[in-house]
């Protein structure tokens, strides 16, 4: 276990007793709790299974103690047992995260667990996302220093969390320099330039009987950000040395990634363009691992994030082995009191995303693409692969009509490569899903502190499970209560016996930083994604309760 932490607990007790014994304590203790529990019923119609335990729970509590320049913290996690849809390797409980850190005069030192990100994370990002059951926390030593003018440097040597163990060995340094800060003459210039770079190396011994695997794999990236008034242009290019792994089929090709963002904005107008190319960039501290385990890096997805239930039915996901994507978006607000703006202004948005595979050619005349133990393939940098992964075009309009009524409508046309993104054919046996979706969201303030919100959504497709409609009503009594009911209805399913309703009722209570929420109903099987990292969620039927509090 990760948890030989008695000295830290002893220390924290000592620290709190110490804090208590002072008349005016200087130390501070803060933290939070979060509990998610669910009861399951079996429901063969929607494919929901009842686990033998009947009730499952994921819970955690964080404690942070600070005393001057010093801080210490720990997190207790309990999976009794792990909720359906999360990796069951979490089953159990204990202290999964603990650290001591010191921060003064630009010097920061952390021992124990920590999260870190270099640049955009193309080479290194450790983070936790409880909704995904994702946690690749480092366990080791981290030092940062920002005492040198215009420069911030960070270094770390650590292992990584894998459920209740730590594995791998990762070493990394990162530096970032503000060019303008460096020279007094351009300090306040309109154009601001920031450059940065990092190098990361992982070690894993080679026990393979056939292949000669590199035991140290290095990767590095350089980045730049240039801003001038409303313009910001930023980019990062990353390269990784030979890293044969389960992800890439044990080929010896180097990896590359490029991410470019360009934005322009002024009051009332925002333009956003992003482009990305990823080639063989899976980077884990254990070459044999898969899914979301022991990732060292993070490859952001470029497609638009969709926030309504049906528009999120077919979410895009990053393809670490190779993809090229672009996205552009324009957001505009018609001014208040203009012809199209009306009394309160009108917001419109248009967005386009497209992701394709990269092009791959055999590395030589005598080898096939992707053969284990060889280069694998060659890929021309700017050539777009033929296989389409994802495309969406969306239009939205938001408007406040008067003091009581606001609405938001959106339309989306989507192409989704089910086979490539989910690894299987859809429910009707198709590889590609072509869908159109519409959303109307209306908020009606009945009177002070009483609001009703209606949502109507539709999803129309000839593939997968065909057409869906969804309606929701939410009633809010500020500041404490809300009640919501919704029903998603798969009315167009070609199989009449599968034209099912997924209805759910929810009651929530909030007081200051404490929130309690109780739901009963059915959820649709599918995929939940955050930032291009996804988790498969099964259909469920039952009660669930969530409690969270920050102190």
């Amino acid at each position: 276990m990760l948890l030989k932490s008695k000295p830290i607990i002893a220390f924290l007790i000592f620290a709190s007793v110490f804090a208590y014994s002072q008349d005016k304590p200087k130390g501070q203790l803060h933290g939070n709790f979060n509990i998610d529990a669910q009861q399951y019923n079996s429901d063969s119609l929607i494919g929901a299974e009842k686990p033998p335990e009947n009730v499952l729970m994921n819970a955690y509590g964080n404690f942070t103690y600070t005393y001057g320049h010093f801080s210490a913290g720990l997190r207790y996690e309990a999976y009794l047992n792990t909720l359906e849809g999360y990796d069951k390797s979490y089953n159990g409980q204990g202290i999964s995260y603990r650290y001591l850190s010191y921060d003064n005069d630009g010097l920061g030192i952390t021992v124990g667990n920590f999260y870190e990100q270099f640049g955009n994370g193309l080479i290194l990002r450790s983070y936790q996302q409880k909704m995904l059951g994702y946690d690749n926390a480092f366990d080791g030593v981290r030092v940062s220093y920002s005492g040198i003018k215009a420069l911030t440097i960070k270094g770390l040597i650590a292992k990584q969390r894998l459920f209740w163990e730590t594995q791998g060995l990762v070493r990394g340094v990162d530096g970032e320099l503000s060019v303008n800060e460096l020279f007094e003459s351009i300090k306040d210039a309109k154009t601001q330039i920031i450059v940065g770079g990092n190098f990361v190396s992982k070690f894993q011994s080679d026990k393979d009987p056939f292949l000669k695997l590199p035991e140290n794999v290095g990767a590095g990236s350089g980045r730049i950000s240039i801003s001038n008034g409303g313009f910001v242009l930023s980019g990062e290019y990353a390269n990784k040395s030979q890293d044969p792994s389960a992800d890439n089929g044990y080929i010896y090709k180097q990896g590359q990634a490029l991410l470019i963002n360009a934005t322009y904005s002024q009051k009332g107008l925002g333009i956003y363009i992003t482009g990305k190319r990823v080639d063989n960039m899976s980077f884990r501290s254990d070459r044999g691992q898969s899914i979301n385990n022991l990732n060292i890096n993070y490859l952001p997805d470029v497609a638009k994030i969709h926030v309504y239930t049906l528009t999120a039915m077919y979410p895009s996901a990053t393809q670490a082995n190779g993809e090229m994507g672009v996205r552009s978006e324009v957001m505009y607000k018609f001014k208040k009191k203009s012809a199209l703006g009306g009394k309160y202004g009108t917001e419109i948005g248009i967005s386009y995303s497209r992701v394709n595979d990269i092009d791959r050619q055999a590395a030589s005349d005598t080898s096939a693409i992707g053969v284990k133990g060889y280069e694998g393939y060659t890929s021309e940098f700017f050539k777009v692969g033929e296989e389409e992964f994802y495309e969406d075009v969306s239009l939205s309009l938001s408007k406040k009509v008067n003091k009581k009524i606001k609405f938001h409508v959106e339309y989306m046309n989507q192409t989704y490569n089910f086979l490539a993104l989910r690894g299987e054919y859809d429910h009707s046996g198709n590889k590609m899903v072509y869908a159109q979706m519409g959303v109307a969201d209306l908020t009606w303030k009945i009177k002070r502190r009483r609001t009703i919100r209606f949502e109507a959504q539709g999803l129309f497709t000839k593939q997968d499970k065909q057409d869906w409609a969804m309606g929701m009503i939410e009633f809010t009594m500020a500041p404490n209560w809300f009640v919501a009911v919704y029903d998603a209805y798969n009315y167009g399913n070609h199989h009449e016996d599968k034209r099912l309703h997924y209805a759910t009722g929810t009651v929530g209570y909030t007081k200051n930083s404490t929130r309690i929420q109780l739901s009963y109903g059915k959820s649709i099987e599918g995929v939940v994604c955050v930032g291009g990292v996804c988790r498969v969620v099964p259909a469920t039927n039952g009660f669930s309760i969530s409690i969270s509090s920050t102190f």
């Binding site: 404690f63 910001v232 920050t550």
Partner: protein, 172 residues
Amino acid sequence: MKKVTVILVLFLSVIAYSQDNSSNALPSIDVKTLDGQVFNTKDINNNGKPIILDFWATWCKPCVKELEAISDLYEEWQEETGVLVVAVSIDNSRSMSRVAPFVNAKSWEYLVLLDPNSKFKEAMNVVNVPHVFLLDGNGNVVHQHTSYADGDEEDLYELVKKVANGEDISHE
């Protein structure tokens, strides 16, 4: 495991006793401004006037609703109390460069900071966004609230006015 439980219970009961201190300065975390410069959260200040620290994300509907609602009233709030809204976006590297055009298109006048790896969010023990902290003129957290319901901004402003007048709201 039993031992750990006993120790934890003990630990928690000790905390319960030492909790009624309300002095509460911010942790020192490096975040970024919209033009990419490093900004330390210790440097958040409003010359002795109250600060609303609002954790949000572009993909979070209630967060955007709350900031929209405050935006309609912000000019008035600033005139009356001098309050500063610091909107900390937890958008990660997937969407963080979208924050500037998003904020400008909406014409928000807040101080917007980027926390792409949720370091500041975690240091403040925020579970879910939106999560709002109200800081007094000395940078102490005097109130916090999670989630958003239409009308919550009115209650928040009542507290802002009290804090601006130097009243103690720690028991509300």
